[in-house]
């Protein structure tokens, strides 16, 4: 569809027509798509780290713009760095940075190597799972700013994190869960080893002393499993009971404790049967399921990450005429800040001085820059695009608009309504039935034979221990979560799998999901003796001084090698400026063509502004007429059509709800084969459409990318965000497509449905088992050893059935060695 034959060497995206940028790599010229990628690729290979391109298994993030060393100036100042970082032995300092664009282990390797090559770096530990790196360095030998620059040079944008207790908590939580899991696993293996002879002891006969001994040893091993590994379940159950509700933890805890206490009683008295094997296996498998879910949740990223990525850590304060870099947390209301071009506002404030243009897309989704004259309000997290601004701070920290949104999302995330409650209701129902059944058995035995009432009731409670039943759902969800994670789909909330299997509609926000969300130059047509390359360079030079979003498309594509002078902005029409004495205009057709008198319209016919198809054309002209035309598009993802077709095949019709122009939406809809579409919608309109669908009984999947989609994502039954999308969109998502490949979506729906089938099979099996075992056990027909085997076997069947989900998932495509596309095609 778009672009030349070869993908970009670095990021793998198609290279625009008429564009020739080469990165000099290993003596060969490799094509790249923009100057950002060129800089990154040359830096990586130049530093001897070219192996990265062999090791990586996903393509890298598009660099977008060449690295900007001045961004990190504040981190060169020792006194500021001292306050931001932690002290290490021997005068060294350490800091943790979040690395944007860190996608695979090879990226982690790259960051590690690139930093280790710097002198003065003592230790680097990169964790690709959490996209974090911990640096330890000697401030006397290297500056923190330089280390951050190195990271940016290899295409991983660093976000230094101050303190970050939440990450530390998550890490400790993971380690703790792993330890509990290990105890359960080891313990279970041991107990199983003792259980097998005990099974045979009943039928084959065994020395009673040896039998006693085995049972006591099993008990000894089970004690830490039941008490230490099972502790989180008791805690959860206790919390639920204290808030007068019943969660899944309650029957689970009841099952563990009942079976355990009964077994201990029997082991000590030498009577009856022990169920230590079932108890330990139950704890192990349930713990395993929770552990997998926790890993996925941690990887999906926290709200704290979102804040770190949006708000800067430092700011420039003016006090008594002196400008100084300070930590963002030190800013107080009433302070005066200087925010330079390209910087992000560290607090909310009012413009004092300067004629600003601000990109507020992270708050509003509006991609056009907003004019900010003196007196206008600016917000934390937004981007100052044009001139430096002096700002009087009006709100800091928890009171800014941004943190308000974040707090809102945090609450929504914590509440987790939806289907989680369905499982808890089922648990309460089941628990009620068990207790009623046990009471009945006790009552009946009381009349028949009071001496056996207690042991018979205990037997019933143990046999009906909801082991298989409570394993049925979590094991299947855990297996599905793990299988999806291998494909690059993160499941943040496992309830989403159930909702997804029932989904009936898909709502797309066009930009950033069906399309890539980046305006870029797709085609260059030059006229006369001007080459495409020359035209692009001139355009980039002119646009360099503009901060219109369209300008970015040019400045990343063409190298602004020449300096334009006397640049004037003609609002709504374009730019005029002088390069090497030549008067040039870039902008609309009428504007760019008007330099020549009489205006030239000759070439207009074949390049007429074609808003109807959702592309825009920008023209470059001088006094001799038009020089070039540039086609700008937000390119469609190549797999979008296939994804929509795949979803339709699964019975999920797609619909676009977009805030964009009708023409652009119609064009994208047509190219993906989507029939229903709506354009120019506000976030509220999108939500209204969603509610209408849900009111008709639909279960809706929403795919969104920007912050303006957050209401839509929060309201949807299943929210899907893209891996590179805005951090806030990700925090309100249930599923995150890390590889940004829409192909994964139909596959995920299919897997969700298979998961639901497996859950139903598991539930049917365990209910059937419990129903069959209950009367037999109540009447005393089941020999105890058979009950023990039956209990374990019923759980094993459930687990094995769930494990089927983790097989059969095709591994993700490997992009292979991008340096040699011909070889790959052959």
């Amino acid at each position: 569809m778009s672009a030349g034959k070869h993908p970009c060497f670095h990021c793998g995206e198609p290279i625009p027509h008429g564009l020739v940028i080469h990165a000099r790599i290993a003596g060969r010229d490799e094509p790249v798509c923009c100057h950002g990628c060129k800089a990154v690729a040359e830096f990586i290979t130049g530093a001897g780290l070219g192996d990265y391109y062999r090791y990586r298994d996903t393509s890298s993030s598009r660099a977008d713009e060449p690295p900007r060393p001045d961004r990190w100036a504040a981190y060169d100042r020792p006194e500021l760095v001292e306050r931001l970082t932690r002290a290490e032995p021997n005068g060294a300092r350490s800091i943790t940075v979040l690395l944007e664009g860190l996608r695979c282990a090879a990226c982690g390797w790259l960051a590690d190597k690139a930093l280790s090559l710097q002198s003065g770096v003592l230790d680097v530990s990169v964790n690709p799972a959490t996209a974090r790196a911990r640096l330890v360095w000697e401030p006397s030998k290297v500056r923190l700013g330089d280390l951050l620059r190195v990271l940016e040079h290899v295409g991983l944008r660093p976000h230094p994190l101050a303190g970050e207790p939440s990450e530390q908590i998550a890490l400790l939580e993971r380690r703790d869960a792993l330890k509990r899991l290990a105890v359960a696993g080891f313990g279970n293996m041991q107990v199983m080893m003792f259980a097998v002879p005990l099974y045979f002891a009943a039928s084959q006969g065994m020395d009673p002393t040896m039998r006693e001994y085995m049972r006591l040893v099993s008990m000894l091993v089970s004690i830490p499993v039941a008490l230490y590994s099972g502790w989180p379940f008791y805690q959860g159950a206790w919390m639920a009971l204290r808030s007068r509700s019943i969660s899944m933890d309650v029957p689970v805890s009841l099952g563990i404790l009942l079976a355990f206490v009964a077994s201990v009683w029997n082991a000590l008295t030498g009577e009856g049967e022990v169920y230590f094997d079932s108890v330990t296996m139950f704890v192990f498998f349930l713990g395993l399921g929770r552990y997998i879910e926790m890993i996925a949740r941690h990887r999906a990223g926290s709200v704290a990450d979102a804040l770190a990525r949006l708000a800067p850590m430092t700011a420039r304060r003016v006090r008594d005429g002196v400008t100084e870099d300070v930590q963002a947390v030190e800013i107080a209301v009433g302070d005066e800040l200087v925010v330079r071009t390209g910087e992000v506002f560290a607090a909310d404030g009012v413009v004092l001085d300067g004629d600003g243009r601000v990109d507020e897309s992270m708050l509003t989704g509006e991609s056009n820059a907003i004019a900010k004259p003196p007196g206008a309000r600016v917000h934390q997290g937004t981007h100052n695009l044009a001139t430096p601004l002096r700002v009087r701070v009006t709100a800091v920290a928890g009171n800014t608009v941004l943190s308000g949104i974040v707090a809102l999302l945090e609450r929504a995330q914590a509440e987790r309504p939806r289907l989680a409650k369905a499982a808890d209701r089922a648990a309460a129902w089941f628990l009620g039935r068990i207790l009623i059944g046990a009471a009945l058995v006790f009552a009946v035995w009381w009349f028949v034979d009071p001496s056996r009432a207690f042991s018979a009731t205990l037997a019933v409670l143990v046999v009906t221990c909801p082991c298989a039943l409570s394993l049925a759902t979590p094991t299947a969800l855990a297996a599905a979560t793990a299988a999806l994670a291998r494909r690059g789909v993160l499941v943040a909330h496992t309830d989403a799998i159930e909702a997804l299997s029932k989904a009936t509609h898909v709502l797309w926000d066009k930009t950033g999901t069906l399309t890539k969300g980046l305006v870029r130059v797709e085609d260059v047509r030059s006229y006369g003796d001007v080459t495409s390359q020359q035209a692009l360079e001139w355009a980039a030079s002119l646009e360099q001084l503009s901060e219109h979003p369209i300008a970015r498309a040019f400045t990343v594509t063409g190298a602004p090698t020449v300096r334009a002078s006397e640049v004037e902005v003609h609002a709504g029409r374009g730019l005029e400026g002088r390069i090497d004495g030549r008067l040039l205009r870039i902008g609309t057709l009428a504007f760019a063509g008007a330099l020549k008198s009489p205006p030239s319209g000759a070439t207009a016919a074949d390049t007429a502004t074609d808003d109807a198809v959702g592309e825009s054309w920008v023209y470059l002209g001088d006094e001799s007429g038009l020089l070039a035309a540039f086609r700008l598009t937000d390119p469609l993802r190549p797999e979008a059509g296939q994804c929509v077709a795949g979803l339709a095949e699964l019975g999920l019709p797609s619909e676009i709800v977009s805030g964009d122009e009708a023409g652009a939406v119609a064009r994208i809809a047509e190219r993906c084969g989507i029939e229903r579409q709506a354009a120019r919608l506000t976030p509220q309109d999108k939500l209204a459409r969603l509610k209408t669908l849900q009111g008709e009984g639909a279960v809706v999947v929403a795919v969104g990318d920007g912050i303006n989609d957050a209401p839509l994502l929060r309201g949807a039954d299943v929210a899907v965000a893209m891996g590179r999308g805005s951090a806030l969109a990700q925090t309100s998502a249930d599923l995150i497509l890390v590889r940004e490949s829409l192909d994964d979506l139909p596959h995920t729906v299919e897997l969700a449905r298979r998961t639901q089938r497996v859950i139903r099979q598991n539930l049917a099996w365990s209910i059937a088992y419990n129903l069959a075992a209950l009367p037999l056990a109540a009447l005393g027909f089941v020999p105890p050893w058979l009950a023990a085997i039956g209990m374990s076997l019923s759980s094993v069947v459930v687990v094995l059935n769930a494990m089927r989900l983790s097989r059969g998932a095709p591994p993700p495509r490997r992009p292979g060695w991008p340096a040699n596309p011909q070889a790959e095609a052959a």
């Binding site: 790599i25 003596g27 192996d51 390797w109 090559l117 530990s125 690709p128 792993l178 060695w817």
Partner: protein, 60 residues
């Protein structure tokens, strides 16, 4: 079968040792990142001259 009275406690001691080692490893961060250390073995001992690296046959 009396040997079991010695062998089983011995086995339990070994399990305890294994668990202790596992706890130690977890606490030391050995399981925090299971992906990237695998790449370090692919590394050459000395950084090759920058101009040669990517030219090598990837299927080598």
């Amino acid at each position: 079968m009396e040997i079991l009275y010695i062998m089983i406690p011995l086995g339990l001691v070994l399990v305890a040792l294994g668990l202790w080692a596992f706890f130690w490893a977890t606490g030391a961060g050995q399981f925090d990142d299971l992906d990237s250390p695998g790449w370090t073995v692919l590394e050459d001992d000395k950084a090759p001259p920058p101009d040669e690296t990517p030219d090598k046959d990837p299927s080598r």
